[in-house]
């Protein structure tokens, strides 16, 4: 795999269970690069675990690994997670305002449309899951 | 006091208490500052009026007269000392500014002589057009005590009597335009 097409994040293997490897990655906040993050407690570092199906032969619990995600998948995630719902809200808002709906109504309706959007995501969650594949690589 | 467990109820109660306390405090302070804030706000407008016309005793803001011209509005604030009209402050504008619209407060004495001019709002270039402000140069001083009937409100380049700000003919022209508009409105209906 060509490294330029990928994102990498360091993580720690937390659990291995019949080919299902759970990796803990640190999701750093905006302040990730800030060396004062110790002084700042604003919604700080969170952990996310990622489950990966991969032959676990080479990996041990507690090992440091790189989780690799194809760049195109990252963009797709961005699209599904943020851009698409944004477009949904925007389009509905514009349509409603063209129809001269009241602001409150238009605003609330378009915001509440996020709910069905997320429901739809939920319904397709398995499909989405299939398309997002991660790879693990050991860190020497 | 011991740290409370993070049970749902505890959390609700804590937050409720915190918000209650804060909002009560805020509400109180708001009540307390409401007066001064309102005064400060009205003082801001009056300040400009104060600066451009002689001493007055009335509340010009209450007696404001609006005149619509060129898609915008001019405001005429009559200043009275007792019943005596001592001057009229005209909030005027121009769209010919270099960087955008300019709003001025022009103070006229009842006979139409310009008493003083204050710049309310402008977007002219720092170092060039912004010299129309009194704090930045003497440009606006040349209008004081002049009556537009015998002081031609346009820059010398265009045959008027106004010395333009160096390298800022456009702003100077715009300034004159705004003052001229104020004067016209003042003439047409300003003097009660």
């Amino acid at each position: 795999m060509n490294a330029s097409d990928c994102y990498e994040q360091q993580g720690l293997i937390e659990d291995i269970n019949e080919g299902l490897i759970t990796v803990n990655v640190k999701n750093t906040s905006l302040c990730a690069d800030c060396h004062a993050k110790g002084a700042c407690g604003f919604f700080d570092i969170q952990k996310k675990s990622i489950q990966i199906f991969q032959s676990s032969a080479n990996f041990k619990v507690g090992e440091k690994v790189n989780v690799i995600l194809k760049k195109s998948l990252g963009i797709k995630a961005l699209f599904l997670g943020y851009i698409m719902p944004f477009l949904v809200v925007l389009v509905v808002l514009i349509v409603l305002s063209i129809l001269h709906a009241s602001e409150l109504f238009a605003g609330l309706v378009s915001l509440s449309l996020l709910i069905p959007y997320y429901v739809a995501l939920y319904i397709f969650r398995n499909k989405i899951k299939k398309s997002f594949t991660f790879t693990l690589r050991k860190i020497e | 006091m011991a740290k409370k467990e993070s049970t749902f109820l505890n959390m609700l109660v804590t937050l409720l208490l915190v918000t209650l306390a804060s909002s009560a405090a805020l509400g109180y302070i708001y009540e307390f500052t409401k007066g001064p804030i309102a005064i400060a706000k009205s003082a801001k407008k009056n300040m400009a009026i104060h600066k451009v016309v002689p001493e007055f005793t009335n509340l010009p803001g209450e007696e404001v007269k609006k005149v619509v011209a060129d898609n915008d509005t001019l405001y005429l604030y009559p200043a009275k000392n007792g019943d005596q009209l001592v001057g009229v402050a005209v909030e005027t504008f121009t769209n010919k500014g270099f960087g955008g619209p300019i709003r001025l407060m022009v103070g006229f004495l009842p006979d139409g002589t310009i008493n003083d001019i204050a710049v309310l709002e402008h977007k002219e270039t720092p170092g060039l057009g912004d010299k129309m402000q009194k704090s930045k140069s003497n440009f606006s001083l040349q209008f004081e005590g002049k009556n537009p009937d015998n002081f031609k409100l346009s820059v010398k380049k265009d045959g008027g009597d106004v010395d333009a700000i160096t390298a800022s003919t456009i702003s100077s022209r715009a300034f004159c335009d705004a003052v001229q508009r104020a004067y016209t409105v003042f003439k047409e209906g300003g003097i009660q």
Binding site: C31, C34, H35, A36, G38, A39, C40, G41, F42, F43 | M1, A2, K3, K4, E5, S6, T7, N10, M11, T14, L15, V18, T19, S22, S23, A25, L26, I29, Y30, T33, P36, I37, A40, K41, A43, K44, M47, A48, K51, A118, V119, L120, P126, G127, Q133, K134, S135
Partner: protein, 203 residues
Amino acid sequence: MSNLKNFAKGFVKENPVFVLFLGLCPTLGTTSSALNGLGMGLATTFVLAMSNLVISLVASVIPDKVRIPSFIVIIASFVTIVDLLMSAYTNTPGPNGEPSLYDQLGIFIPLIVVNCIVLGRAEAFASKNSVFSSLLDGLGMGLGFAFALTLLGSVREILGSGSVFGFKFIQGDGILMFVSPPGAFLALGFLIMLMNKWKQKIV
């Protein structure tokens, strides 16, 4: 740490602006003159000191998981208080029609609430320390912030308009770039560089 040290560290060693690079927006946005910088700095100091004080008082009874929201509410309340007070008492325009301090600081007053220093101090210090040292910490950090803002404001004012705190010492304009937005970045960049060099020297 002694209380004095605690107070003093905000000035140089842990200066929020020059060392920690926190609260940069107000630093850049409100320093077109020394006075504005000072005003903003003091407003922040007030919020910092007061919220540190209150938080250190109540932190021990707040359950961990609502700590952040409670802190936010407390801080935001103090910010609102500053906002209200300033709009009441610092809202008079200058003698030549210059905008009032309140107007010049503008949106940056409500934004004190998201200034990392404030919440950061609450989290990292006030919630764990005594009332008095929290107050001192807040004051120290706040004054360090105010110091940085005033310094930057002075530099920009000196270079940009040839005056300090409004006292003009040269005729006419200065180097106008320094009072416009790009000048803020440039001046802060070079100030931080100088600070770094100076710190290396004294260490």
